[in-house]
Amino acid sequence: MENISPIISYFIRQGVPLDTVIMLFMLPIIVTLIAFFRQVVGIKAFGIYTPAIVTFAFLAIPQLRYGVVVFVTVIIVGMLMRYLLKRLKLLYLPRMAITLSIVAFSILLLLAMGGWMQRTGLAAVSIFPILIMVTLVEKFVGTQIEKGNRTALLLALETLAISIVGFYIASWTGLIKFIVVYPWVILATIPVNIFLGKWDGLRISEYVRFRDVLKNM
């Protein structure tokens, strides 16, 4: 680590942990990636906050697959709860409170099950990434109400996909080393985003959506 950039070593001398510094430098890359997926590829996910936070939750869990298992469990339980609670005809917030509680218990069961199946890694997952994912349920159920099951499920899968890509990028040692040496490169994400923000071409997904029109116009 002899090439370490002076700005990074300054942060470290001030007592900021290296991991934190790297995470904060990764954030612009992750959110730019999400913006790129939306504007150019056409993968929507739940806005920008959710895929970004899920990416960081994945990074905080020892193994990616445990993160994915927790994510999938949260979505499935959230979906089931919507059906179960529908008949009670409750108002939105109390209903959501019940959903969140049940999701929390399910995750606890999941962790215990992991221990029982000798997957101790699962039980060792720290609390904050889990809490982050539990709160995902509100986003998911809200989308279910507004846009229907199919869209909500599709957006959940898209969020998962983007977060996995984000996870691999943010945990790529080559990139981490590069940032430690040239942290200013991160500023390049700003012109990239200005370009994305002015981009008015068709998204890749739109070539698929409008294929009949494109062929028969």
């Binding site: 504007q39 056409g42 005809k89 108002l91 939105y92 917030l93 809200g142 109400i145 507004e146 846009k147 229907g148 869209t151 002015k198 981009w199 008015d200 071409g201 068709l202 998204r203 739109e206 070539y207 959506r209 409008f210 009949d212 029109v213 494109l214 062929k215 028969n216 116009m217």
Partner: protein
């Protein structure tokens, strides 16, 4: 692949819609109007547009508790004021028999006052509003289904979406509710979108939901193309008027047709969906760019421009399928006579006549002066020769120059024996060789009629 690259410039994508049209042309003030259904109802009504009648509104829990349920009519629609995409709407068709506190929904389910109260609480809490902000619930008059649309739609009312830009209607589609869409006319919920030819108001191609092309209403043999939408011009007029009243430069106007009231303006959309392009198999961007910057002074002019620029595809389609040209009742033709002599005239397309006929004057212009002269000299009175054999009749005109045949024509003016000459005429790009009878048509409006025998390559559209 090459056409794909060429056509992508004509298509409007989500990025271009937001960046190049919604942002610059739909200012925040106008967007607020579009997102507030009660407010837009008031503004449109003031501009003289017919809108569904507002029955009552409930803004908070206190009003909900005091609400007079007995005052509600047997049928109504309950909507969230700032709802979007058709979510949170409840439509009831009548009171449940023998009960004062229950109604029947489109699905046949019963909905009670308690259910309604619960739903309204959710609306007030903002469950269905943009960004979940507190909202107002309102009741409005339920529209009744037009007989024409009955076989095509499942519960619910179809509506017509018209995209208006720069006072010009640029694209339109008919939206038909289906079982999948739960009686709602929103494409993303599974409704059918049918493209409309702007000039005639006739439906063309159709899409189910957001992607699949269909020709028939699912599980039936009902063809979706060729439906003639009634009040078409009024629908376009209302759409352009709504643009003027709302200030939305890039507007998606929704108009429904009520059985009794005729066209009724439903809703303003500041961010109209893009699937209309799939329904019409046409690109919006190309159309928007053609209309951009044109100075449109009056409403009528805007409608005219839209109809002229973006209509007529149906005709081309018919021509493509049948291999025949569609022509009107009166057409301009170039007639070629003796020695290449030409004349341009308006001809009447007459499917009631067998043969083509031309006036004396026109015949002279075409180099048949001698024929006309000799024929006039003979001054044949049909009454005198009517008992002759066919060959003998033909002999009467023998000796007239350039004659190729004779014809006996029975018309409302009586029967005549006429000479025929060889001509050809150019109609809509086709050169048609013909034998034409010569007769005095000076008292008639058109110097030429084209009869059945020479119309084999054409289809006649009487509206053209």
């Amino acid at each position: 692949m090459l056409t794909l690259l060429k056509n992508r410039k004509k298509l409007l994508g989500m990025n271009a819609r937001n960046l190049d049209y919604v942002r610059p042309y739909n200012l925040k003030k106008s967007k607020l109007v579009a997102d507030d259904k009660i407010l837009s109802k008031r503004i449109l009504k003031k501009a003289g547009l017919p809108v569904p009648r507002l029955i009552a509104k409930i803004s908070n829990n206190e009003e909900l508790e005091k609400f007079d349920w007995a005052g509600l009519p047997a049928s109504f629609a309950l909507k969230p004021n700032r709802g979007f995409g058709g979510e949170g709407i409840v439509v009831v068709y009548g009171k449940k028999k023998g009960r004062e506190d229950a109604w029947v929904k489109a699905s046949g389910d019963i909905i009670t006052v308690d259910d309604l109260k619960n739903h309204i609480r959710n609306i007030i809490d903002g469950t269905y509003s943009l960004s979940n902000t507190p909202d107002v619930a309102f009741f409005e008059e339920r529209l009744t289904l037009l007989k024409l649309f009955k076989p095509y739609s499942f519960k619910g009312i179809p509506d017509i979406r018209v995209i208006v830009f720069n006072k010009v209607p640029v694209m339109a589609m008919l939206r038909l509710p289906t079982k999948e869409s739960g009686g709602k006319a929103n494409l993303h919920q599974g409704a059918i979108g049918v493209g409309i030819d702007l000039a005639t108001g006739t439906t063309t191609t159709a899409v189910l939901g957001k992607g699949r092309h269909i020709e028939y209403v699912p599980k039936t043999r009902l063809l979706l193309s060729g439906i003639r939408i009634p009040y078409w011009k009024d629908i376009l007029k209302f759409s352009v008027q709504a643009q003027e009243a709302s200030g939305l430069g890039f507007l998606g106007a929704d108009v429904a047709i009520d059985k009794e009231r005729g066209p009724v303006f439903l809703e303003l959309n500041a961010r109209p969906g893009l699937s209309i392009q799939i329904a019409n198999l046409a690109g919006l961007k190309e159309r928007l760019e053609r209309v951009k910057g044109i100075k449109i002074k009056t409403l009528e002019r805007g409608i005219r421009v839209g109809m002229d620029l973006f209509g007529g595809e149906i005709e081309e389609e018919v021509e493509e399928i049948s291999g025949k040209k569609v022509i009107g009742v009166i057409e301009k033709v170039k007639v070629i006579g003796k020695d290449g002599k030409e004349a341009e005239v308006e001809a009447k397309i007459d499917t009631g006549a067998g043969l083509t006929a031309i006036d004396f004057d026109l015949a002279r212009q075409l180099g048949f002066e001698k024929t006309v002269e000799e024929y006039q000299k003979l001054d044949v009175d049909y009454e005198k020769i009517k008992d002759l054999e066919k060959a003998e009749k033909e002999d009467v005109l023998k000796g007239i120059p350039d004659i190729v045949d004779t014809a006996i024509i029975h018309s409302s003016h009586g029967t005549t024996l006429r000479p025929m000459v060889r001509i050809s005429f150019v109609l809509d790009g086709f050169v048609i060789p013909a034998k034409a009878s010569i007769i005095d048509r000076s008292h008639l409006e058109y110097p030429m009629i084209i009869g059945k025998r020479n119309l084999g390559r054409f289809l006649v559209d009487v509206n053209k």
